[in-house]
């Protein structure tokens, strides 16, 4: 009996001590003035490894991009950058994960246009309003490709042939950027199109090469090897200006169709990251883009470098969100 009592007493003492220490540590944290805290962070960030979440599976396009970027930014930020894969739900899984993380700048997410497309079309819980953009780092053009030596040789051919018969237009999914671009073109010209959605780029490409579909839109990096080998032919670009490596491919804009659809890339963080930390991250990733490996990656994959800071990027995202909301509603993909 006695022993038990002593044990209980000890236990209570330990508990009370714990509570006191905990309260004290909380109090002392609060006691620091916010200014001091911020200054300290400015000097000390990053103090530990940063994790960069990507929403692609390991080895996929967005994963390789994330890993290349992380490697380039590591020496500049001075701490390891660990790439974490959170695939699934068109990015929804990664966005939900990011939203649950502390806004301390140690968890970041590499995003693409899906950042606005997924919440719009799939009605997922998190939207761009739940996050703080850090930096926009570039954009990929959308190029229309057809089989080389086929009936279709230009944007004009698409229109003339599309007036007479239904074009089979392969897409990489439903409500994806390439699908949106094609739908806007269809609307502008009134041509007849059957959209054939595939899962993933490989199947769509094989279907185009095999003649099962007539045309598709892709990022230059996805179709470059076929373009170079002369198996596919680029006939139009949904950008404001022609691409450096494919200067013979006209833009839709110069043909009188003002349609700009590009895949943009950037980095976002949970909402509420202190301005100083955002600044450190912005400068770090901006410098990382000058890394020769990064420059080479951009050149090889025809990514156009475009840097916007957090605020500019937020405004851009907001404007893109409006654009896609309107277009996707017209396409009947937002209910």
């Amino acid at each position: 009996m006695n022993k038990l009592k002593i044990f209980r007493l000890c236990l209570i003492t330990v508990l009370v001590l714990c509570v006191i220490t905990f309260a004290a540590s909380c109090g002392s944290q609060k006691a620091e003035s916010p200014k001091q805290e911020q200054q300290q962070q400015k000097i000390n960030f990053p103090e530990k490894p940063i994790s960069l979440v990507v929403w692609g599976s390991p080895g996929g396009g967005s994963d390789v991009f994330g890993r290349t970027l992380a490697k380039a930014a590591e020496p500049i930020l001075g701490k390891p950058i660990v790439v974490e894969n959170k695939p699934g739900g068109g990015g929804a899984t990664a966005m939900a994960y990011l939203a649950s993380q502390k806004p301390d700048g140690y968890t970041l997410l590499a995003v693409t246009t899906n950042y606005v497309l997924t919440p719009l079309t799939k009605n997922t819980p998190n939207t761009y309003k739940d996050f703080d953009p850090i930096i926009m780092i570039g954009r990929d053009a959308t190029m229309t490709a057809v089989r080389a030596g086929g009936e279709i040789k230009s944007i004009e051919d698409l229109v003339t042939i599309g007036k007479n018969k239904n074009l089979k237009w392969g897409t990489f999914g439903v409500g994806t950027t390439d699908h949106v671009a094609a739908a806007l073109f269809q609307k502008a010209t009134g041509i007849k199109v059957d959209f054939v959605p595939f899962e993933g780029g490989g199947e769509a490409m094989a279907a185009l090469l095999g003649g099962h579909v007539d045309v598709l839109n892709g990022n230059p990096s996805e179709i470059s090897s076929q373009l170079e080998a002369g198996q596919l032919k680029g006939i139009g670009v949904f950008s404001a200006e022609r691409l450096q490596d494919y200067s013979d491919v006209p833009t839709y804009k110069e043909k009188g169709y003002d349609i700009i659809v590009e895949t943009w890339r950037g980095i976002v963080a949970p909402k509420g990251v202190p301005e100083e930390i955002k600044g450190v991250l912005f400068e770090g990733f901006k410098k990382a883009l000058d890394d020769p490996v990064m420059k080479d990656y951009y050149k090889k994959n025809n990514i156009i470098e475009e840097i916007k800071n957090g605020n500019e990027f937020y405004d851009f995202i907001e404007q893109q969100n409006e654009f896609y909301k309107k277009t996707l509603t017209e396409m009947g993909l937002i209910k």
């Binding site: 695939p87 929804a92 439903v174």
Partner: protein
């Protein structure tokens, strides 16, 4: 094929660093493959970051070593503990595990190893000689052809079902139903997702596979008092392995499966899992002893294992010659090429022919490596079934958790695995076969997607399935496959009556 270039490739691959790194990759592949949940594509992805500083040939040979090693490795746990390490080995578990219970685990492992080797080498030879030509075959398959192939694959269920045909069909229907979960492929609306974005991409089949096989098996074994993991008698190294006459008797099956596996591997959109199921089915159909299938037939181990390894060589065809990844693993390999600054595709054979032959040489080495490693380790692996149940079961459960989590780094998948563990337990209790669920879950979305794509292409006309020759042939084969058991029965009865 250029023998001079191949020789140069072999010289490169036998340089100490390249040689060792390929062996390392193969060994890791066997281990990854054996672990439930880590399949070939994840294994390749896990070690992908190591390749940043390597030469293209070293990097790709290591990754291809993982790929081929994992295909064999998947069968190890399938045979020993009825837990396929990869979906492609799900078929191997039927007869492999029965053999293990009978104390012939060594024979099953040896057979799986040798069959994998023959399948792998066969497809490699085809790859080296015919790659550019076969690329045309790969793109000749459009949505209607894929639909027909998926239907043909689904017809395998009738032979997986064994004695309980109706129960097998019900299991298949359950798998098809599970396959409809997720965002609609054509209009993007959510189906059976209950607002959970985790289900948007559908139910991932790795957690289902682990649940239905590993968890259910452990639950079932744990409640039976007697240990079914019999102590194997101490026998010599060579006696563990299949004998020459046993090998000879299944050679036809192995070669058939090598051809089928290579062909299915070539098609982007099909893959090793479908190949192994179809090979199992064909082996059973043409076997002299179809009644042994499902009861512990060496042929039933050899056929799917030859098939899934043959699919690896096949899958390299569209990757190398078109730059199109035909499977999850080749998609990761495409990433590996990109890291090296090389884009696979038509120009690969012109601009980087040395790399191409280096890769061929690496594949030759990897195949030989897993053959030798596999044969040596048979004795060691057989000991796994001698581990006492109280240690083995928790180990399997722990591996199952890790495997299910690591697919997408998602706890949701772990919950899914547990759920299917319970479902699998009751299915086994009620004698519903679980393999048709996995097969239908893999093939269902493929069948649905390609059917709907084909319908868009034809404006709703079903004629598209008879107008295209490949589609028509595949659908006729399906009909033949469905009625073959009846035909055989009739024929044998006829013979019997004639003999009387």
């Amino acid at each position: 094929m250029d023998l001079g270039l191949l020789f140069e490739g072999l010289v490169t691959i036998f340089q100490p660093y390249n040689f060792l790194i390929t062996l390392f990759g193969t060994a890791m592949g066997i281990i990854f493959g054996a672990l439930p949940g880590i399949n070939a594509s994840m294994g390749v992805a896990l070690l992908l970051p190591l390749t940043y500083g390597m030469s293209p040939i070293a990097a790709l040979s290591m990754l291809l070593g993982i790929y081929t090693g994992a295909m064999y490795g998947g069968s190890i746990t399938a045979i020993l503990i009825n837990t396929p390490g990869t979906t492609a080995a799900a078929c191997t578990a039927f007869d492999g595990y029965k053999l293990a219970i009978k104390g012939k685990a060594g024979k099953a492992l040896g057979m799986s190893n040798i069959a994998s080797f023959i399948g792998g080498v066969f497809s490699l030879i085809v790859l080296m000689i015919l790659a550019p030509l076969l690329a045309k075959v790969a793109i000749s398959f459009g949505p209607p052809e894929y639909f027909a192939l998926a239907v043909f694959g689904l017809s395998v269920i009738t032979s997986l079902a064994g004695e309980h045909l109706v129960k097998g069909l019900l299991s298949g229907a359950f798998g098809l139903l599970l396959g409809t979960v997720g965002l609609d492929l054509i209009n993007g609306s959510p189906r059976y997702t209950f607002g959970m974005y985790n289900l948007f991409d559908g139910i991932s089949f790795i957690p289902v596979l682990i649940g239905l096989f590993a968890i259910a098996q452990v639950l079932l074994n744990a409640e039976s008092k007697e240990s079914i993991y019999l102590r194997t008698k101490k026998i010599g190294f060579l006696e563990q392995l299949p004998s020459f006459s046993e090998l000879k008797s299944v050679m036809v099956s192995i070669l058939n499966s090598s051809v089928i596996g290579t062909f299915i591997g070539i098609l982007p959109g099909a893959g090793a899992t479908i190949a192994s199921f179809i090979c199992y089915n064909e082996a059973k159909r043409w076997s002299k002893h179809p009644e042994e299938f499902g009861e512990g037939s060496l042929e039933g181990v050899a056929a799917p294992e030859a098939g899934n390894n043959a699919a690896t060589g096949g899958a390299m065809v569209p990757l190398l010659s078109l730059g199109i990844p035909g499977s999850e693993t080749t998609a990761v390999l495409l990433g590996a090429f990109m890291i090296q600054g090389i884009s696979p595709g038509p120009l690969l054979f012109r601009d980087h022919i040395d790399v191409v032959y280096g890769i061929f040489a690496g594949l030759i080495l990897a195949n030989i490596a897993f053959l030798i490693m596999g044969l040596i380790s048979v004795n060691f692996f057989v000991k796994v079934i001698q581990i006492p149940n109280r240690i083995l079961y928790p180990l399997i459960i722990a591996l199952a958790f890790v495997g299910a989590y690591s697919v997408k780094n998602s706890l949701f998948d772990v919950g899914l695995m547990l759920l299917f563990g319970i479902v699998g337990y009751f299915m086994k209790k009620l004698e519903f076969p679980t393999a048709p669920v996995v097969l239908a879950l893999v093939l269902g979305p493929m069948a649905e997607g390609s059917l709907r794509r084909a319908m868009i292409m034809s404006h709703g006309s079903w004629a598209i399935f008879v107008q295209r020759p490949i589609t028509l042939v595949l659908l006729l084969l399906t009909l033949f496959s469905l009625f073959f058991p009846f035909l055989r029965e009739k024929l044998s009865k006829k013979k019997l009556s004639e003999n009387l």
